[in-house]
């Protein structure tokens, strides 16, 4: 399990990351969301040790992380890059060795992954001769080499075509199935919603919300959509009901609790012409927008 405790990074007067704390349990996939400049990359760099924290600690399996631990973390930095003039297989083998694999094992694993990502014919080609999409695939492989015990991926899905997104998701699921914790950041909230067990929302360097998507949804206000055949304006007069949006026959309402909601439905049925009365479950991006604004 990876744990961050009070992690802080200051650049001069600017507080880029402010006491960030959360955990990535074994086998869990945690999505790290937040706008540009929220501090996601800075946080991930501190986890990987390429940036020293101003304060706070990173714990791996309950104790402060060491260089030896980090050599077995898989990392995809925000700024992508491999050796442009070196053959693909040769440099992946080298990176695997840097992560502690033997040359033979690193070559075998790299070949296996390259074949799986459809690059089996390009092993000896220089990286710069590959298409951008294929360079991205090589980059993905580079991040999971060396039998990682943790994956930290900064925007791993950005720039991927839909096929590569699916290949990448499948690969990540294989690692979580084996018990490897995965932390990744993304702007694609629907993807995060679909893949992640838990979400951490960062805003201006601080964690403003975290939990499973169910937990986050549970914190969202109770809302119902009511659609009738006539004008639904009467809902404004119902005590305990806040009208969020009203558009002729359709109204988005926020009752104080479930009892109020039930009374509202009884009222509506009594007036006749009810076409829809449904609980509105907010999407992750809606929750995100709300926590980010407040």
């Amino acid at each position: 399990m990876l744990e961050l405790q009070g992690l802080t990074r200051r650049y001069g007067d600017h507080l880029a990351v402010d006491e960030v704390g959360f955990a990535v349990p074994d086998g869990a996939m945690v999505g790290f969301v937040g706008g540009n400049g929220a501090g996601k990359t800075t946080t991930m760099r501190m986890v990987m040790g390429v940036l020293a924290p101003t304060a706070g600690t990173v714990l791996w399996q309950g104790r402060p992380v060491t260089a030896a631990d980090r050599s077995r973390f898989g990392y995809m930095p925000e700024e992508r890059g491999l050796y442009p003039k070196q053959p693909v297989l040769a440099q992946l083998t080298y990176l695997g060795q840097l992560h502690g694999m033997t040359a033979t094992a690193a070559r075998a694993r790299s070949t296996e992954l390259l074949e799986r990502f459809g690059l089996g014919e390009r092993l000896k080609d220089k990286l710069e001769t590959l298409s951008l999409g294929n360079q991205q695939r090589a980059q993905i492989i580079a991040s999971v080499l060396g039998d990682p015990v943790l994956l930290v991926l900064d925007e791993p899905f950005s720039g991927l075509d839909p096929a590569a997104v699916d290949q990448m998701s499948a690969l990540l699921r294989e690692y979580t199935a084996r018990g490897v914790p995965v932390l990744f950041s993304s702007h694609q909230l629907d993807l995060v919603d679909r893949l992640c067990d838990a979400i951490v929302v960062l805003h201006q360097g601080r964690v403003v919300a975290q939990g499973t998507s169910e937990q986050l949804r549970a914190t969202a206000p109770l809302r119902y959509r009511l659609t009738t055949t006539g004008d639904t304006g009467w809902v404004r007069g119902v005590p305990g009901v806040e009208v969020v949006d009203l558009d002729g026959p359709s109204a988005l309402v926020q009752p104080a609790d479930e009892q109020v909601a039930e009374r509202l439905l009884v009222d509506a049925v009594a007036r006749g012409g009810v076409r829809e009365f449904s609980r509105v479950v907010p999407s992750l991006s809606e929750i995100y927008r709300e926590v980010a604004v407040s």
Binding site: D26, R63, R80, G81, M101, A105, D147
Partner: protein, 423 residues
């Protein structure tokens, strides 16, 4: 980087491996710097420009020394036209004196041949036509050397000596004495007290010393620039963040510096070996034994001098963020090197002695002084200790700058700013 191996005994790879059973590939890893070093060397050896350049240098060097020796056919040949047996006998007696004459570049082989001709006019023809270099005509008491223009000095002086000795011997005999009695006590012996076995001429010393200096200068600039550009290449391609996350930055630096140092020393050894092999084809190889001691000292001076600069070069590379910035971040270093090296070569007297203890300059000057043979054993030893200390200092400073600047990818840094920067 704030973390070190604080709990090496509780590292969890065993537990992790049990949890991830289908990849039994993790074994006790090789020290990361050895991997980095191996990659640097591999990249250099597969770089066509580098390999071709090295091969070309060696071939040119060997060619420059071997080809003239082969074409020259080894030595000078003089042909002397003679009209009779007396003349031929005189020339034969003079011949050893001609061969023994010292030339600028050591002991040159000289052969003197006689060319029998009918009479004086035939001898004149032979000289004018170029069939003979000179002609010795006449008879005892009236010998003449005929030449077309200025005759070869050592040939005529040897002939003159022989003629004079013959005449003196004849005269002495007539006067009832002998040559030995006449010449007793006339010989002035010269003794070179500074000379040792295989000592070299002054001009030769300067050339060899300059050769040492140039090899170091070229290696320091060429491989230094190579270190800097290999650092910036990793920054520019952004792979540096992956590398820095996987292994400690000091391993990255160490591997890079050692890999390039090995290549520099290897290339230098190859060039020096080629030069030595080439030397055996020339008449200069008598100088070799005198160079052995200087060469023995040159190697550690080269190594430490190079290492002292290597980390500074790496820092210069880290300060840049693109190859284009390299020019400006390496300029101060290049300038200092050029000024120091050409300044050092032109030093004289006490200043030169002082400079031969200054780190990096000592790589140029100390082997030169050893060649000249005017140093006590402790002098190179002290200079070596000084450069070793300086080396430790630049490694410390260079690696600190490297670490700070390495992940600074937006724009190039100045030396001053990098020195003030926090981690």
């Amino acid at each position: 980087m704030s973390t070190t191996r604080e709990h090496p005994d509780v590292a969890p790879p065993q537990a992790d491996r049990a949890r991830v059973p289908d990849h039994p590939s993790v074994t006790p890893p090789r020290a990361p710097w050895t991997l980095v070093m191996a990659r640097e060397i591999r990249v250099r050896l597969t770089d066509k420009t580098f390999v071709l350049g090295t091969v070309l240098t060696v071939v040119l060097l060997l060619g420059a020394m071997v080809v003239p020796a082969l074409l020259g056919g080894g030595g000078t040949e003089y042909r002397v036209a003679v009209t009779d047996a007396t003349g031929a006998a005189l020339v034969e007696r003079a011949a050893p004196a001609v061969s023994g004459a010292p030339s600028m570049s050591g002991q040159e082989e000289v052969t003197v041949l006689t060319e029998p001709v009918a009479d004086r006019s035939a001898a004149e023809d032979a000289v004018v036509e170029g069939d003979a270099d000179v002609a010795l005509v006449g008879a005892d008491g009236a010998w003449e050397v005929l030449s077309d223009g200025e005759p070869p000095l050592r040939l005529t002086s040897a002939l003159a000596d022989t003629v004079r000795a013959e005449a003196l011997a004849a005269n002495a005999e007539q006067a009832g004495t002998s040559m030995a009695e006449l010449t007793a006590g006339t010989v002035l012996t010269t003794v070179d007290v500074g000379s040792q076995d295989g000592a070299m001429a002054e001009g030769m010393l300067f050339v060899v010393g300059l050769g040492f200096a140039m090899v170091f200068y070229i290696a320091a600039l060429m491989f230094g620039m190579q270190i800097a550009s290999s650092v910036v290449e990793e920054k520019q391609s952004r792979i540096v963040e992956i590398l820095a996350a996987a292994i400690p930055v000091r391993h990255l630096l160490l591997g890079k510096v050692l890999g390039n140092t090995l290549m520099a020393v290897g290339q230098m050894a190859l060039i020096v070996a080629a030069a030595l092999v080439g030397l055996t084809f020339t008449d200069l190889d008598v100088a070799l034994p005198g160079m052995a001691e200087a060469l023995g000292w040159y190697l550690p001076f080269f190594l430490l001098g190079f290492l002292a600069l290597a980390c500074v070069w790496a820092a210069a590379g880290a300060l840049a963020s693109r190859t284009e910035d390299l020019q400006s971040t390496t300029m101060p270093l290049t300038m200092v090197l050029v000024v120091a090296i050409f300044g050092a070569i032109n030093l004289d007297g006490v200043w030169r002695e002082v400079a031969s203890f200054v780190p990096v300059l000592s790589t140029l000057l100390m082997p030169m002084r050893i060649l000249e043979g005017d140093v006590s054993w402790w002098e190179p030893a002290l200079a070596l200790a000084l450069v070793a200390g300086f080396c430790a200092l630049t490694i410390l400073l260079g690696s600190r700058l490297y670490r700070r600047a390495l992940l600074h990818t937006s724009g190039s840094l100045t030396w001053r700013r990098a020195l003030r920067m926090g981690e």
